[in-house]
Symmetry: C2
Subunit: 481 residues, 2 copies
Amino acid sequence: MVDVNTLPRTSLYEQLADEIARQVRMGIFRPGDRLPSVRQISSQRELSITTVLQAYHLLEDRGIIEARPQSGYYVRCQTHRSTPDPEISTPSPDPAQVTVHDLAMMVLRDASNPQLVQFGAAIPDPDLLPTKRLNQILANLARRDDLPQNYFGLPEGHEDLRIQVAQRAVSAGCTLSPDEIVITSGAMEAISLSLRAVCKPGDLVAIESPTYFGVLQTLEVQGLQVLEIPTHHQTGMSLEALRFALDNHPIRAVMAVTNFNNPLGSCMPDEHKQELAALLAGREIPLIEDDINGDLYFNGARPSVVKAYDDQGLVLLCSSFSKDLSPSYRVGWVAPGRFKNQVLRLKMATNIGTAMLPQLAIARFLSSGHYDHHLRKIRRAYAQKVTAMSQAVLEAFPEGTRVTSPLGGFVLWVQMPEQVDSLVLYKMALKAGITLVPGYIFSPNDRYRNFIRLNAAYWSPKNERALLRLGGLVARLAETA
Amino acid sequence: MVDVNTLPRTSLYEQLADEIARQVRMGIFRPGDRLPSVRQISSQRELSITTVLQAYHLLEDRGIIEARPQSGYYVRCQTHRSTPDPEISTPSPDPAQVTVHDLAMMVLRDASNPQLVQFGAAIPDPDLLPTKRLNQILANLARRDDLPQNYFGLPEGHEDLRIQVAQRAVSAGCTLSPDEIVITSGAMEAISLSLRAVCKPGDLVAIESPTYFGVLQTLEVQGLQVLEIPTHHQTGMSLEALRFALDNHPIRAVMAVTNFNNPLGSCMPDEHKQELAALLAGREIPLIEDDINGDLYFNGARPSVVKAYDDQGLVLLCSSFSKDLSPSYRVGWVAPGRFKNQVLRLKMATNIGTAMLPQLAIARFLSSGHYDHHLRKIRRAYAQKVTAMSQAVLEAFPEGTRVTSPLGGFVLWVQMPEQVDSLVLYKMALKAGITLVPGYIFSPNDRYRNFIRLNAAYWSPKNERALLRLGGLVARLAETA
């Protein structure tokens, strides 16, 4: 016989049990996680202790949670569950529908898949990062008691790091005061803030062609129009073409990677840099100059930057420590010239400032004197990897393939036979356990259908076989098409 | 007699010396800093070793640098220089010219001035932050070898933290899957990305009045128009007024701090939250809900959020760990509902992702079980401070002063006699070693001329005298005007 007085309470605890079971299914609480205490739930939900206990007992009966003496209730680890190997992701990119954003997201996701041979995202080889020393510095800083933990940090970033950046800029020909520098969360933020500082939605920006897809994403979300300027694989953006474009289009800003461009690897000669500075000065047009690879030169001296020839404050020089020290610290900087106030205002309205400890750790690493030694080491390594992989591509890929031999950075740009669709190749390569970046993503106008960018940072004899496999796939596509 | 052959070389080394001297004056190299080695300069500048040495000797003669045996050249520490006490900043705010941005920047700068009594920026009391334990966790993480240092991290942030955020959201009435959450660099970034996701420049956004100035800055740089909705100091945004506004203006989004609003301290009752969710659902209008103070309630249970009543995915719920764990870690989050893809796209195009180690340290702290204990401790402390300071304001300030008694958070909103100009008061208070936030900054329309916001986090018997001094200044202004 049913006691009607107990009905509401019964349904309450069942409701609670069902809700918790749902949270476990959704992954909010995972196997091994401790659930909130009976007392917590009781006070949060304004339910009696008895009701909560009843719900927990029901979940125990259902095998979803278990009680551990003196400790509380935990989500049960399902020991019977088979543990299949992680699947290699198999997205189905359809050239007609995939956007730069979707592709960029896939490239990033591939980069965190340890199952894949990493010829894709331009991430540095972890063996060539000073992660241990840098983290050691961070750990030591974190243990100190006298750090200013009580404030957000200023939008321009910590002075110690700005001083180090100013010192380093001297080798690129720039005399920057620490006050002219704003620390950012990586170079992407430096570029994004710079574009927002000098353009408004609808404005036209002249860019290199091909262009790094991260820049294309930023241009897209800011509602900017782009004009692609022909770019030489050795000398960079064509100044003749740019001059013509400036004469004939309402260009609001120019965006360029002047040293070891991504993906071309081009390095603009000093005379061109000087000429570009003069060209823009005459028309009061700002240049967003991305120098993220400037320290990764293989021969001779550190190349200069256009900013070194800029006496009008028109160049916003952007860089970061993601290629040489740590991608995951997310520390970069911009020297915005006459646009400093706008950049600072945008930085403040975007995220107030950059996380403090990563800034301080990098400042400490730079001032420790290890940085130059570290840079020499990775320059040598990348020079070897880039040369070897460039050669290997020529050998492994079918006739008609062209590949760059850059003098800095660590990416290769590969032009394959006309018939090869880089998205189809990307998909096939993924199935073979290799990631790469399809050419489509380097232009808003599908210009680079039969191109791919390869990351040479992971080049090693071990990965030679993967490249041979890739060459085989390209050959197959070149024949069947 | 002059040997003409030596002239160019002489002038080269003098030029170099002058340039380095200038860099020292600019602060690029500071007293005690090591200068680049002679060999480095020589290869960078393509100058002979002799020339560089001559320049360094000249700088030694001028007393600017010194050689240290076996070590190199260093900028000399000028021991004779007197070391005056740091000056308290004395900006001269002119109501007619100062913008929200300029004032916000001053408030931030004051916050890092240890000379001032911190009644200004809403920064938590450092004694109430678990800095030592959190940094300890960070240090331990940084010493581990198995961390994924080789990739940027994904735009949505680390899964461990997203799971913790989802678990915590349960107490606010929200069932969120970890997949629905995006980690950001603080709540400001969460709000900024949310606004960009749902609005385009020129759109109209309904906001509370008064509104936190950080939000006003973001609205301004995004080129958004605002409509101020009357807001009650206890129950929050007036829903009657909002309904009227929605009927009569092309409002594209609503922005509100529903729990312990900054600066009012208001907390919207559950029925209002439910009604607001329904109101917006009927018109398909998104709400950006800032819940940064939700865990800082003084009595009863954790207040819910509008998101808990949102079955349309229209609420973008934003929060961070800057008020309870660490402002300088810059870790926040957003649950963007149906706008997740847009937010993710913007996050990627803004800075790719959030720094990894601070995310992991906070995830570890949350899962350690210390978080609830910590929150109980700071809630008790803030309840005492807020109550005591509110009382002290009434006693110290002249008749006619009104002050809030919020039930959560740690700021007070003070209405002073009509004649008192809060910017004049700000300036006088700074000279007396006290910072506060003038009311002007909480509205785009100069509505709160005779209001100030006070941070109660730093309230202590020690600071009681500062408040008495402040009350004296207010009284003087009330009389003389």
